[in-house]
């Protein structure tokens, strides 16, 4: 009798746990018994902390320099030799040199000395850029950013979102799902070229400026997560939906496995994207310093009518570069599942719009360590936080506009995104403000024909 009672008690506990875990999984194909008990978790790429610049601000033994255009190649070589610098690389389109400086002089001194030379247009530090997102625990949940029904956002006990606090993607997809010819360049840590939810969406193996080859495989995870938000394969009964269903991704790697890159690689990445057919450039990266060379690269791409989308950063401080280059970039802040700006989202007059950046589910590289995925052959997904996650929503959105109206200029597309945004904080900050700019993006308003009823 006692045995029966104990057995009955165990049975009740089993039923309770089974029921509780069952309701959290939306993907039927992954309903495997053990999986429900061991919720998949991924190791945090940065120990659960947001990426922030901790030590170095620029590459310690390098500078970037641009000579005046009247100077001949021979004179440049002579000048470089006179200063005992060594040419590491050169971006021919912009005529910017990456130089290694001698060991007996500091970078600060060399920048100062070079700027005194009348043949030099400018010399500056090769600043460090860094990524601004940390993937967290993995759950297969609804993508509230695309369509918010007021569902639970994450694990049991997580808050519920506010109904329709989203970017109105589903209505916009009725009008367009994008064109294959439209290319989104993701300049980041690369993209996992083998992830089943994006592999058919990748234009080519891309360009790796960290290892100087043509295989932009992601060895960090950030770029894959970003690319998935913009253009994961959609309507394929697997994983998540990207914003731009049919547009292609051009992966460009400028960030290493630790999550850092430098301005020179970023400049190379931007010019490469501009020269290789990109229509939209996503920059979910940033640095704290202004640099003429970087601005010149952005100008180069912008003048080719490429829409440049950049994350403002996650420190709750000033907008990072390149997002702060207002003339060329659309700077994206982050909101949450209630359409409220998250307090870590950087702010300033450069902010143009906002998009969801809180607890965003997207792709995680297939090589990412997890026994759960290995055991069940699950393609990995994970949650990310940050303006890095907000920016690709806008990039996918820009790609859809470009798909349906290819004659529009970059400036026009950026204005359409600005003017169609929902001013979600208008009660406190009506109009264009420094926290979410014109507001949270609204794809429906920009893409679906607006009914004209009101007489002037």
């Amino acid at each position: 009798m006692k045995t029966k009672k104990i057995f009955f008690l165990f049975f009740i506990i089993y039923i309770f746990i089974f029921s509780a875990s069952f309701q959290h999984h939306r993907f039927d194909r992954y309903k495997k018994p053990l999986y429900r008990f061991f919720r998949p978790r991924i190791q945090s790429i940065n120990k659960g902390l947001p990426f922030q610049l901790k030590e170095k601000q620029y590459v310690p033994d390098q500078i970037l320099i641009k000579f005046k255009p009247t100077l001949s190649e021979l004179l440049i070589e002579t000048t470089l030799a006179a200063y005992q610098t060594k040419k590491i690389n050169r971006i021919p389109r912009l005529n910017i040199y990456q130089l290694q400086i001698p060991r007996d002089i500091t970078v600060e001194e060399m920048v100062y000395v070079m700027n005194q030379n009348p043949d030099v247009e400018y010399a500056e530090f090769n600043y460090i850029v860094y990524i601004t997102e940390t993937p967290n625990d993995i759950y297969f949940k609804y993508q509230y950013a695309l369509y918010n029904s007021g569902q639970s956002i994450g694990i049991p006990g997580s808050p519920h979102g506010t109904e329709r606090a989203d970017i109105k993607a589903t209505a916009a997809w009725e009008e367009t799902k994008g064109e294959e010819e439209v290319i989104i360049a993701v300049i980041d840590s690369g993209v996992d070229l083998l992830h089943p939810d994006i592999e058919t969406k990748i234009l080519s193996s891309g360009r790796d400026f960290v290892n100087d080859d043509f295989d932009a495989t992601d060895d960090h995870g950030h770029g894959t997560h970003v690319a998935g938000i913009a253009a994961a394969e959609s309507n394929n009964n697997e994983g998540i939906a990207g914003v731009a269903w049919n547009c292609k991704i051009l992966p460009i790697k400028i960030v290493d496995e630790e999550g850092y890159g430098d301005y020179y690689s970023l400049i190379e990445g931007i010019t490469y994207a501009a020269d290789n057919g990109a229509d939209v450039i996503n920059l979910s990266i940033g640095g704290e310093f202004t640099a003429q060379a970087l601005e010149e690269a952005l100008k180069y791409a912008y003048e080719k009518d490429i829409v440049i989308i950049a994350a403002v950063g996650n420190e709750g401080g000033a907008v990072l570069y390149p997002a702060a280059y207002d003339d060329y970039c659309l700077a994206v802040a982050a909101t949450d599942y209630d359409d409220i700006r998250v307090d870590w989202s950087n702010f300033g007059p450069e902010v143009d719009v906002a998009a969801p950046g809180e607890r965003i589910i997207s792709l995680v590289p297939t090589w990412y360590p997890s026994s759960i995925w290995d055991d069940f052959e699950l393609p990995p997904y994970g949650y990310g936080f940050g303006t890095s996650m907000a920016a690709p929503y806008v990039s996918g959105f820009a790609a859809l506009i470009k798909s349906i109206k290819p004659w529009l200029t970059a400036a026009e597309i950026m204005n359409i995104i600005r003017y169609s945004a929902d001013d979600t904080n208008k009660e406190d900050y009506p109009g264009n403000d420094e926290f979410i700019g014109y507001g949270r993006i609204n794809m429906e308003k920009a893409l679906v024909p607006i009914k004209i009823t009101t007489h002037k």
Binding site: R418, Y419, A446, P449, I450, K451, I452, H455
Partner: protein, 259 residues
């Protein structure tokens, strides 16, 4: 602007021709039956129009009030000049080439209407008469401006439409009754036009010329002429214009007075 001039010129030419012909025939006393019939009329039609290379379709509904002057130049041959005011409804027309796509839901747009008719008797028997009838009508909508709703900056669109309808075919009239003459008019009936729209939203601007074409090209009209008394004639007509997926229709009423 060229279009406006062209059609205005055409209307003036027809009026001039009618006046000239009338004067000439009157002077020569070629026919004692030369007459002028001023009249008023009302017409309504609803026609399915296609646009963007036949990719999309919507309805054009139009009603207009007209003044007309019919000049019978010689027996069995007359010219009719039309001028009036129209209200045309282009709702559901969508413009996708503007920075922000827009769909019209603005109701009737007023505009002037010009046109002309030419009618020639071909043959007649005791109870039937067969005539050839050609007609064109040109509508020129006035320019309107509307606000663009729901954007976070102010913006507006201005629109200016025109359409033209041309038809030609035989009219078979039964003349067996006194004072009442039913008829059937079978015609090739073509409608086309353009809606020019311009959008301005801060630094954003764009324009689009939307060409529209009536889906139906043939029309069957059933009508009757009733002579109330010698000088006053009433005319009523209902038209049916089939196309591959439906049927458009129109009605017309006219009253004419003979001098």
């Amino acid at each position: 602007m060229k279009k406006i001039n062209y059609f205005s010129l055409a209307a003036i030419l027809i009026l001039s021709l009618c006046s000239f012909s009338y004067a000439q025939f009157h002077e020569e006393k070629y026919s004692p039956k030369i007459s002028i019939k001023p009249g008023i009329g009302f017409e309504y039609f609803s026609r399915t129009i296609s646009w963007d290379d036949d990719k999309y379709s919507s309805n054009l509904k139009s009603y207009f009030f007209i003044l007309n002057a019919e000049f019978e130049i010689q027996e069995g041959f007359s010219l009719n000049a039309l001028a009036g005011y129209s209200f045309s409804n282009f709702d559901s027309l969508i413009f996708r080439e503007l920075p922000f796509s827009v769909e019209l839901d603005v109701g009737d747009m007023s505009g002037f209407l010009f046109g002309g008719e030419i009618k020639k008797s071909i043959f007649s028997t005791n109870d039937f008469e067969v005539e050839g009838l050609g007609q064109f009508v040109y509508y020129l909508g006035s320019k309107k401006e509307w606000d663009i709703p729901d954007l976070n900056v102010e913006g507006s669109v201005t629109g200016k439409p025109w359409w033209m309808r041309a038809s030609a075919g035989p009219v078979i009239t039964y003349t067996g009754f006194d004072y009442f003459y039913p008829y059937i008019y079978l015609s090739y009936n073509k409608l086309w036009g353009k809606f020019k729209i311009e959008q301005t939203i801060q630094e954003l601007s764009g324009s689009e010329d939307k060409k529209i074409t009536g889906k139906s090209v043939f029309s069957t009209s059933l009508g009757a002429i009733y002579e109330v008394f010698d000088a006053l004639t009433l005319k009523a007509e209902a038209s049916f214009m089939p196309y591959n997926k439906g049927l458009d229709f129109g009605v017309m009423l006219r009253a004419m007075y003979s001098f």
